[in-house]
C-alpha cells in the first residue's frame, strides 16, 4: 500500500526562498551533508561573487557545523559573513537547510573576500560597490530576521500539514459517502423475494459504479433451498476474461476452502484457483446464519491505489451482506411456498385417493386454467394463483358422502343437491388460510353459468369472478375429455364443438375462443399418464 510522505516542508521553504529573494537576500539550499543543492539566483557581479568556489565552500562548511535543532541558527564562519540557517524537516528528520546570507561591511576587509573576488574574476573595488547595498546587517537585525524567517517557516509548514490532514479527511469523507450511498441504493433495490436474481444483477451494477474493478461476479452456492428457485448460479458484470463456466468452477474450488466466517481473500497469483493470472482479485464470502450462500468476487483493479484497499473490501463486504440477506430471504420464501403447495397437494390428494376417476382431474384443471390465464395476458404471478385455484377447486367434495360421490350412473335430485354444495364447502374449508383470499372466489363460483343459471349464487356474465369463469372452462373441458362411470371420454373434436356450443350460455363467450387456441399437448400427456395409472390400478385389483 502506498504511503508517500508528504513533502510539505519543501513547498514551505520554496515560498520562504522566493520571499527572501524579493528582499534581495541571497539564499542557498544545502542538503544535510553540506552539499549545495541550489545557489543564489542573483544576477550581475554579486551573483558571480556569491557563486564563486570560496563562498560556496564557506556555506558548505557552515552547513556541516549546524546542529540538528528545529529552529533557525545564526552562524558567522568568517567575520561579517553571517548566515541564517533554517532546517527543512521531513518526518522529524532534517533533510536540508535553507541558508540566507546577511552580511556586514567587515566581510569585505577579510581574506575570504579577496579570494572570492579572484575566483570570480572581479576587481575587489567593483565587488565592494556591488556588495555595499547588501552588507548592512547588524547582529540585532540579523537576530530579528532569523526570528521572522523561523516563524514564517513554522507557519507555512503548519499550514501545509493542515492541508495534508484536510486531504486525508477529504479522502475519508468521499469513501464514507460512497459507502453510505451504496447502503441506501442496495436497500432501495430489494424487491420481490421470489426473484433474488433481480437484486443480484442490480446490486452488481450498482457496485460497479462505486468500485474501480474491471469485473464483478457473484456465484451462488448449491443450497438445496435455493435450488427450488429458477435462478442462475453465476452473475457477471463488466468484462470478465473468464467464461462463466470457468468462473463457476473457480468459485466452486475457492468456496471449498472457505466457511461462513472466512475473512475476505485477496488473490494475486493463484493459478490453481482458475482465476486469471497476474490480476488481483478480492473474494468475499456471502454468508448468513453461519451458512455460506455464495461468493462475491471483484477482479482486476483499474484505477486509484493499485493495491487492494480497506475501502474496496468494505464496499464488497457491504454488498455481500445485502446479497446474503436477499438470497436467504429467497430461500426461505421458496421453502415456504413449497410447504404451502405441498400442504395443498396433501389436501387434494386425500380426495384423489378415494375416487380414481377424479384423481388427476384437479391437476389437469389447474394446468389448463393457468395456461388460459397466461394466454389472456395475465401476469405470471396471477397465473400462479389461478393454478392454485385449479388445484383446490374441488376440495369441497370431501364434504360430500362417498356413496353419493362414487355412485355410478346419474345422481338423484337429492344426491345432486348434496354434490352442488361442494363449492361452498370448499370455500368454508379454505377461507381461514391466510393469503388464499384471492383464490376463494374461483373455488366458490366455478359452477356458475354465464347465463346466470349456475350455482351456488346464480351470478351471470361479468358478475362471475374471472377465476370462476376460467375454472369453469377448464373444468368442463377436462370432464368431457375424461372417462366417467356413466359414459366414456368424448373425442377432441366433439369436446371442442361442445365448448363452442356452450359459449354464451354455460361458458364465457370471450374466453372460449382463447381456450380453444391453447396448445393442449401437455394436457394430453397428463391424461395419458393418468389413464396408464388407472389401468395399472385396475389390473392389480383384478
Amino acid at each position: 500500500m502506498l504511503n508517500v510522505a508528504p513533502n510539505t516542508a519543501l513547498h514551505a521553504h520554496q515560498t520562504v526562498c522566493s520571499r527572501l529573494a524579493e528582499l534581495s537576500l541571497p539564499v542557498w539550499r544545502v542538503d544535510a551533508s553540506g552539499n549545495v543543492l541550489a545557489a543564489p539566483d542573483v544576477g550581475g557581479d554579486i551573483g558571480r561573487l556569491l557563486r564563486s568556489t570560496p563562498i560556496t565552500e564557506l556555506v558548505s562548511d557552515a552547513a556541516r557545523s549546524l546542529a540538528d535543532v528545529d529552529k533557525p541558527q545564526i552562524i558567522t564562519p568568517v567575520s561579517g559573513f553571517s548566515v541564517i540557517a533554517v532546517p527543512e524537516r521531513q518526518r522529524r528528520r532534517c533533510v536540508a537547510w535553507t541558508i540566507a546570507l546577511a552580511p556586514s561591511g567587515e566581510f569585505m576587509l577579510g581574506d575570504r573576500f579577496q579570494l572570492a573576488c579572484q575566483s570570480a574574476g572581479l576587481p575587489p573595488e567593483q565587488a565592494k560597490q556591488a556588495l555595499a547595498a547588501l552588507a548592512t546587517y547588524t547582529p540585532e537585525t540579523i537576530r530579528h530576521l532569523a526570528a521572522m524567517i523561523g516563524w514564517s517557516v513554522a507557519d507555512l509548514v503548519g499550514e501545509a500539514d493542515s492541508r495534508h490532514a484536510i486531504a486525508g479527511f477529504t479522502r475519508q469523507l468521499t469513501e464514507d459517502f460512497e459507502t453510505i450511498d451504496l447502503l441506501h441504493s442496495l436497500a432501495r433495490l430489494m424487491g420481490d423475494p421470489s426473484r433474488p436474481q433481480d437484486f443480484v444483477n442490480r446490486a452488481l451494477a450498482r457496485l460497479n459504479d462505486s468500485m474501480q474493478f474491471a469485473w464483478l461476479g457473484c456465484w451462488v452456492a448449491s443450497d438445496p433451498r435455493l435450488a427450488r428457485l429458477p435462478m442462475p448460479r453465476t452473475f457477471l458484470t463488466g468484462g470478465s476474461p473468464l467464461p462463466e463456466t470457468e468462473l463457476s468452477a473457480a468459485a466452486d474450488s475457492l468456496a471449498r476452502g472457505m466457511t461462513a466466517d472466512s475473512k475476505p481473500l485477496i488473490i494475486s497469483e493463484a493459478p490453481e484457483t482458475g482465476l486469471p493470472r497476474g490480476v488481483q482479485c478480492i473474494v468475499q464470502p456471502v454468508a448468513r446464519n453461519s451458512r455460506l450462500l455464495g461468493l462475491l468476487i471483484a477482479g482486476d483493479k483499474q484505477s486509484g491505489d493499485p493495491g487492494v484497499t480497506s475501502f474496496d473490501i468494505h464496499l464488497l463486504e457491504t454488498a455481500g451482506a445485502f446479497i446474503a440477506a436477499v438470497l436467504e430471504n429467497g430461500a426461505l420464501y421458496a421453502e415456504q411456498s413449497a410447504m404451502f403447495i405441498g400442504s395443498l397437494k396433501a389436501l387434494t390428494s386425500s380426495l384423489d385417493a378415494k375416487d380414481r376417476y377424479t384423481a388427476g382431474h384437479s391437476e389437469r384443471v389447474a394446468c389448463l386454467a393457468r395456461q388460459l390465464a397466461l394466454a389472456l395476458g395475465l401476469p405470471e404471478n396471477i397465473a400462479e394463483r389461478v393454478h392454485i385455484a385449479g388445484m383446490v377447486h374441488d376440495v369441497g367434495k370431501i364434504g360430500v358422502p362417498e356413496a353419493v360421490l362414487l355412485k355410478p350412473g346419474k345422481p338423484t335430485e337429492a344426491e345432486f343437491a348434496m354434490i352442488k354444495r361442494h363449492p361452498e364447502i370448499g370455500y368454508a374449508i379454505l377461507k381461514d388460510i391466510p393469503l388464499m383470499q384471492d383464490i376463494l372466489p374461483g373455488v366458490l363460483h366455478h359452477h356458475e353459468r354465464y347465463d346466470g343459471k349456475g350455482y351456488p349464487s346464480g351470478l351471470a356474465g361479468e358478475q362471475i369472478p374471472l377465476f370462476g369463469r376460467i375454472l369453469a372452462i377448464a373444468d368442463t373441458f377436462d370432464a368431457m375429455s375424461s372417462n366417467r362411470s356413466y359414459r366414456p371420454a368424448l373425442g377432441r373434436q366433439q369436446v371442442i364443438a361442445e365448448l363452442q356450443r356452450c359459449a354464451g350460455t354455460q361458458l364465457d363467450p370471450a374466453l372460449v375462443p382463447v381456450f380453444l387456441s391453447l396448445d393442449l399437448s401437455f394436457f394430453d400427456r397428463l391424461m395419458a399418464a393418468h389413464r396408464d395409472h388407472v389401468t395399472d390400478v385396475a389390473a392389480r385389483a383384478a
Binding site: 510522505a5 484536510i166 486525508g168 468494505h314
Partner: protein
C-alpha cells in the same frame, strides 16, 4: 495514583493526521488526556517519557511499525505493562507469535468505528 485521581493518559500513534485527529477528538471528549505521535520512533520516545495508561497505534508507520513499537515497549520493564490497541488495514494479520511478544490486547481493522475504539479503550483501562 489510581485511575480516578487523574484523567487517564492515552498515546495515539498513526502517520495519517486525519486518523489521529478523529481518534484524539473522540477520546478527549470522553475525558481522556491524549498525546499524539506521527511515527513509531516518536511514539516510543513519548511512551518512555509519559508512561501512558494506554497506547493506540497504527500498524504501518514510518521508521518503526506498530508491532515493533509494542515489542520494544514490552521488552522494557518501565513500559511493559502499558496495554495496547492495534489498528490495521484490512487483510493484514499479525501472527500469534508476534503478538505474544507485545502487550497488544485488541486488534481492529480499518475502517473502524471510533465509538468501538472508545469502548475498547475504556474496557482496557478498567482492566488495568
Amino acid at each position: 495514583m489510581s485511575v480516578t485521581d487523574r484523567k487517564p493518559v492515552v498515546l495515539v500513534s498513526d502517520d495519517e493526521p486525519h486518523i489521529r485527529a478523529i481518534v484524539t477528538a473522540k477520546l478527549r471528549s470522553a475525558g481522556f488526556t491524549v498525546y499524539e505521535a506521527g511515527d513509531g520512533q516518536e511514539a516510543l520516545a513519548l511512551a518512555r517519557e509519559l508512561t501512558p495508561d494506554l497506547l493506540i497505534t497504527d500498524l504501518h508507520m514510518p521508521y518503526m511499525s506498530g508491532v515493533e513499537l509494542c515489542t520494544a515497549l514490552k521488552a522494557d520493564p518501565a513500559t511493559s505493562d502499558i496495554p495496547a490497541m492495534l489498528l490495521t488495514a484490512h487483510g493484514f494479520l499479525v501472527g500469534g507469535d508476534e503478538l505474544s511478544r507485545t502487550n497488544i490486547r485488541s486488534v481492529r481493522s480499518k475502517p473502524f468505528s471510533v465509538r468501538d475504539v472508545l469502548q475498547d479503550a475504556q474496557r482496557l483501562l478498567q482492566a488495568a
